[in-house]
Every structure is written in structure tokens, then in C-alpha cells.
Amino acid sequence: MYEGLMLALTPSYLFWLTLGVMIGMVVGTLPGLTATMGTALLVPFTFALPPGAGIAMLGGLYVCAMFSDAIPACLVNTPGTPAAMATAFDGHPMVQQGRGQEAIVGACFASAFGTLFGATCYLLLAWPMIAVALKFGPSEFFWLGIFALTIIGSLAGDSIVKGLAGGAIGLLISSVGISHGNEVARFTFGVPEFRGGVSLVAGLIGVFAVPQVLAMVAELRKKEYIAEYKPKGGETFKTIKKVLASPVNIIRSGVIGSFIGILPGAGSPIAALVSYNEAVRWSKDKSQFGKGDLRGVTASEIANNAAAPAAMIPLVTLGVPGSSPAAVIAGALMLRGLNPGPELFQSDGTLVFSFGWSLMIAGVVTFILGSLFAPLLVKIIRIPLRLLAPLIMVLAVIGAYAIRNNIFDVYFMLGLGIFVFLVRRLGFHPGPIGLGLILGPIIEPSLVQAMYISDATSVWNVFFTGTVNLILIALSVLSIAFVVWTRRKDKIAAREKTAAAQSAMADETE
């Protein structure tokens, strides 16, 4: 491990790592460019470098993209990647309140902490963690997805029924295309392009960015900018202090992110959503979540960044990548004749450990660059809406198109965006719809696989037995019960407050 650290600290490694981080900053910030795309594009450039420096550069890009996707999420309510969806829930309201710098610096510090946490797990706990991860089969993934769905309780706004219906609409949209069972075309309505399914990124841009742009246009005559912004000195340290004031939130988010990160297929978006949900559930004062609570931003960012290094754990221990960028990094290693898996630990342990240290250093570099550029980035909100709205629209089109080079994705994005813009007027929150879009591709394949397994035994045996299943079911039930209980409590409190105010008014009149 020590040799790995020394290798990671050599100037050439640090240079390539920093370059990877800088490219990651651009990749994450631009909607439509994902960490996977960025790492894949960078692979050919790593051939000229030593293997360790090459994968350090790719790792740096991956880690930084997991932070920089929070920048558009906070500033213009458009997650740079699906992993930043939960960041937008509180990040954008913070920006609207003129706390943009706090949101960006908070996300940056949280990302750095999450990366350090995930990288520490990679370096120290890889083998014990993978033993637990191996217990996850299709039914466990199904219940994990259901557990993540309970976040709707925190996002639903005033009406939980609208939240549930919104989540179901998201799940339905995600089920368009070829089914996971007998490969039947579903909900294509005679449109051949729908057979390939809908693009998740185009869908998320449609759910978040397009309604935001249309809302900007609708408000153009009332306000000139997204929000007022006055740069404040010492904001970085103040924000770090605020983040550190919730140590339980930090540790919990790190644990959730690291654990979900090692589950192949789950990845950063689920980690961020589950972590956000837990931050809301365990907080004493829940009233500010969704309205600009820094703890919401940090919970999401710590978890999605902790998931990035953790996704490398199954890669180096089992040879199974935990995420798409991890799969690209696996490919980069294989192209150099290095087979990821247990034998890599034995044949080139220094490389494996130097990668872990590089990820850790990438977290620090991300924080330094992110805090330096934060005041500059926040100035985006000072761009007049008359210019910003069309610019975001073009970026949204680019983002939707770039993923699959398919013009149909652009039409789908616009159609979904108009739909969400209209239903927002009916009191639907875009969060549950986006949540359904993200969780559908995780829940449904797991459900179908588990159903196939249950053909050989029974539904009960597959879904309702096994320690992990029972824990996840219990957590889901508790989560739902908790939502019902807190909503009821809030309703009673609001009713009592209104009654007290009315009686006070009556007393005054008398």
C-alpha cells in the first residue's frame, strides 16, 4: 500500500490525474456528456502513459464528473448526470435564495469527502464489503429499488398521491421499449424509435431542464435573472463549517454511497437518492428539505461521490465493474494486458493500491479546483434570463442528442418537458417522475429475473426469504410508515397553528 502511495504521489502521476480532473469538470458540467463517455474518449490517450498514470487520469475524470454534475443541477436545475438529480432538489432552491456559492462549495466539499470515504473503503475494506455485496441477487436489487422509491415521500410536496402517481408515470415511461422477459415491444404505439427504449439522460433533461427553461420564459417579464448574487468573502470556510456541523449526515451518506457503489448496476444515482431520503428521515428539522437545505446537497453529493471509488471494488476484487465508467477503466486495463480481478492484486498490487490513492488525491484536487472556480461558476445565474433560457435549450438539445446520436431523443425530451411543465401547474413535482425514470431500469429487470427464478421454487422463497431481503422489506415498510406518520404529525401541527391563529384573531376582535 505504501508503494502505491509513493507511486501516486510522483509528479507525472499527479499531472495526469489533475488533467483528468479538469476534463471531468467539463464533462460533468455539460448535460449529455457522461463520465462514461468522458472516460471512453480518454482511453486512447492513456496508451502513451504508464498503466498507473493512465488509470489515475481516468479515475480523476470519473471522480470530478461526479462533482461537477452538481453545478448545472444547482445553478439551472438541470442535473449534469442522473447522479446529481437529488442534488438539484435543494441545490437549486439555494441558488434561488442567493446562496449559489454556498451550494457549489458545499457540493464540492461534500464530493471531496465522499471520494475520500469511498477511496478509503477501496483501500481498506474491499474484501469484507464485497462479501456482503455478493449476497445481492435479483430479488435483493428489486427490494433495494423499492426502498429507493420510498424517497417519493420526501419529494411529493403537498400531495403524496400526486407524488406516487408521478413516480408511477416515470416508471411507465421507463418501461417503453423491448421488455426484459420475452423481448416483447411495449408501448411503442407504432413508433419504431420507441422499440429501443427511451434515453434516460434525454428523459431527465426533459423532466428537469425543459420545464425550467419554459418557467424562465414565463417569468421573464417579472424578473431579469435566476437570482441575485453577491459574492461573499470567506464563504468557503463558512460552508465547510456548516457541512461539518452535521457529522452523522456525513458519515451516514458516506456509508450508504460506498455500500451501494459496490453493487454492480445500482451506482451513483441510487446511492444519492437513498442517501437524500435518509438525510430527510433522520433530520430533526425536515421543514427546509426541498427548499434549500445544505444537508440535502451534501447527503446527495457525498453518496454519489463515495459510490465512484466504491464501484472499483468489485472490479479489482472480482473483475466485475460496479458502474459504466468502471467498465471503461476495466477495458483500459485489459487493453494493456492487465486483467482486473483477484490475480491483479497478486501480480500488480502496487498498481491496484496506487489507483486507490489516486482516487483519494483526485478528491482533494477536485475540492481545490471546485472551490477556486465556484465564485466564477455562480456568475452564470447573473446571465439575463432572456439569454440564458435559449442557451439552456440548445444545451438540452445537445445533451439529449449526444448520448445516442438519435434525433428522436430530442423530440422525446421536448415532449416530456412540455408535459412536465404543464403537470407542474397541477401540483406535480418533477422529482418523482425523474425518480421513476431512474429506478425503472433497475427495478424491472430485477423483478423479471426474480420471477424467472421463482418459477423453479416459489415467489415466497425468492422475494420474502433471506436476510438481505427481509432487511430491505423492513426498511421499506418503516420508511413508508415514517412518511405517513410525519405527514400526519405535520398536518395536525398545521391545523393547531391555524386554530390558535383564528382564536387569537377572534380575541382581538372582541
Binding site: H180, A218, R221, L387
Partner: protein, 155 residues
Amino acid sequence: MIRNTDFLTAVVLFVIGAIFLSDGGEDIKDWAFPLLATYVVLVGAVFFAAKFLFATMRGRVADLIEFDADHKLAAKDVFIFLVVVLIYMSLMRTIGFWPTSVVMLLVLSIYLTLEKTRQNMTSAILAPIITCIIAYLIFTHVFYVPFPPGTIWPD
């Protein structure tokens, strides 16, 4: 804008439920998941329809949609914005992504600039051109994303 939205919500949810119920098959493995989600949507629709009916029976004013002059102006801006975006999307394949993007940005920036002072107009013209040049360089020459080149131009 919309004070009581229960009726409209119920209609929207019923329509979505009906659309997704219109497709189906025999093997439960292919359809269990979307069916469950559709039932959730339909239960929501029934809930809001019942809520609306109760409100109507109790004599409460339901679904009062109010449009004042400001709302009309906002709706007009959004409508024109969407029309321009739709024209842009339909011309993108023929004329090419980057030329249509520049034109769309210019048209919208100029339209949305309400106070057409010299300074505002300069920014409304320069910002789209500069943005498109930067985006073109990043996406085409750094990340090699192939955008529709347009069919009317010679190879």
C-alpha cells in the same frame, strides 16, 4: 393560475392510465411491472375524481382557472418560444445542427429581449454566436459528437 386542480389532475391521470392500459400481452413477466404502475396512476385518478365530486357536492367552487393579463403574456411568450424550438427541431436535419442552432438562438434572444436598447441587442446577438462557436469546438472537435450536418449542403 389554477386554484383547484383536482378535476384536471384526475383527467390527466385517467388519460395516462388509459394510454398505458391500451397495450398488453399474455406473459405476466412482460407486463407485471407496467401494469402495477398503471394501476397506481389509475388509483390516483380515482382519488382526485372522488375528491372533486365531494367538493362539488358540498357546494365548494372547484377548478377555478384564472388567467389575468400577466398570465396571458407569459403564455404567449412560452407559446412563441415553443413554436421557434419546434421549427428549429424540424429544420435541424435539413439545414444542419449548428446553423439552425445559431439562428434559433438569435431569434429567441432577440424576441425575449424586451427592452431593445443598443447594449441589450448587442448582447442578444453576440452571446448566441459566441456560445455556438464554443459549443461547436467542444462537442465536435474535443468530444467528437457527430451532429446532423444537414442534407441540403454539398458533401
